[in-house]
Assembly symmetry: C2
Homo-oligomer: 219 residues x 2
């Protein structure tokens, strides 16, 4: 098992990616998929798919392919999404609201069990999803009491670190941070930062490259 700690990071990211088409295939009752087909659907190399999976076992049958249902089950087991995870969310602005109300999360095994905000005008509001917004200072007690697994931060950037501290001090183990601030945590707490404008800036860079190449080759 300790071997699994030297799995390439990109492999983990791709496993999650692979599960999307697999879910669709399960629904469509398609029993078998090849690495080639799965690779095509995810925009990667077929050998990559096979290698990624081979880190964890032999899930395929030579000359045949992978049994869709079984493969999806294995990937979920590997990722840890074969059980439900409880989430709380801190900062109930536009983005926070949009996330709690999105039921893709529930379908994928994530349950929002608490929503927090600092603003007294927001505290007490009952959300369509059934939760009532709680005051931010109650984060520690509630995280501990309910045993919340993961926290999502959707506060303004300048408040993100403060929010994170309330969370990990209450012994919560993972944080998904949507603010533009880089959040710092002790080793016992894992953070994923998702800065959406970083994504936009990537896109813009690659576009500029595309334009430049065109100009060069056109001359």
């Amino acid at each position: 098992m300790t071997k699994e700690s030297k799995i390439p990071r990109p492999t983990i990211e791709r496993l999650a990616l692979y599960s999307r088409p697999l879910e669709i295939f399960v629904k469509s009752n398609i029993p078998i998929i090849s690495s080639e087909k799965l690779a095509e659907l995810c925009g990667v190399n077929p050998a990559q798919v096979r290698k990624d999976l081979a880190y964890f076992g032999e899930f395929g049958v030579r000359g045949v392919g992978y049994e869709v249902r079984e493969l999806l089950r294995e990937i979920k087991r590997i990722l840890g999404t074969d059980r439900r995870w409880s989430l709380c969310i801190v900062g109930m602005g536009n983005l926070g609201m949009s996330l709690v109300e999105n039921d893709n999360f529930k379908q994928r095994g994530y349950d929002f069990v608490a929503a927090f905000d600092l603003d007294p005008k927001k505290v007490g509001i009952e959300l369509p999803c059934g939760l009532t917004i709680q005051p931010a200072h109650t984060i520690p007690e509630q995280v501990r009491a309910v045993g919340i697994d993961l926290g999502i931060i959707t506060t303004p950037s300048r408040e993100a670190q403060r929010a994170a501290e309330l969370l990990f001090r209450a012994n919560l183990k993972g944080i998904l941070n949507f603010s533009a601030a880089q959040v710092r945590t002790p080793e016992c707490c894992i953070v994923e930062n998702v800065d959406l404008s970083v994504k936009l800036e990537n896109l813009v860079y690659h576009l500029e490259m595309l334009y430049k190449e065109k100009n060069v080759t056109a001359q």
Copy 2:
């Protein structure tokens, strides 16, 4: 210039990251920053920072550091964010609404100039940001007429490919896709996929690893 095409992808991602603390330093009137400080703030290695920057020129002064204002200006020039970009957004549900109303984008140089939806109940609604939701079938003409640079897809996954096709057929060059579906485009159009539940699944995997290691070392 063609040399810039073999810049490591991760370098581009980090450049965008570096600009966040730099923006704050500019506001705080801090004139100089070292690679070590910048690295610490972004959670990377200082040599990495220097190498990333060195791909594009010599922006620092030995023994001193980097002039904050100048460095930010250079990074923006490199990324292509030294000009404004026009955006349209397709699918005005919770997430789409939250994105158009977020004014971080405007601050960073992105202007939403059109919003589209398929649903007749949504078409015609005037948004707080001033835009009126347009019917999706008008995407081609409006993208061409206004000369929109980038498109954001926030439709349900099953509609994402259709939305993408309307966009790139109208000669739009870049797409940021928030649906869980992998969108396929011709070479002339660049897509960034941002699947938020992939991020969650990554987090969950690394958490599970953390737990397992603890159990192992505890025994």
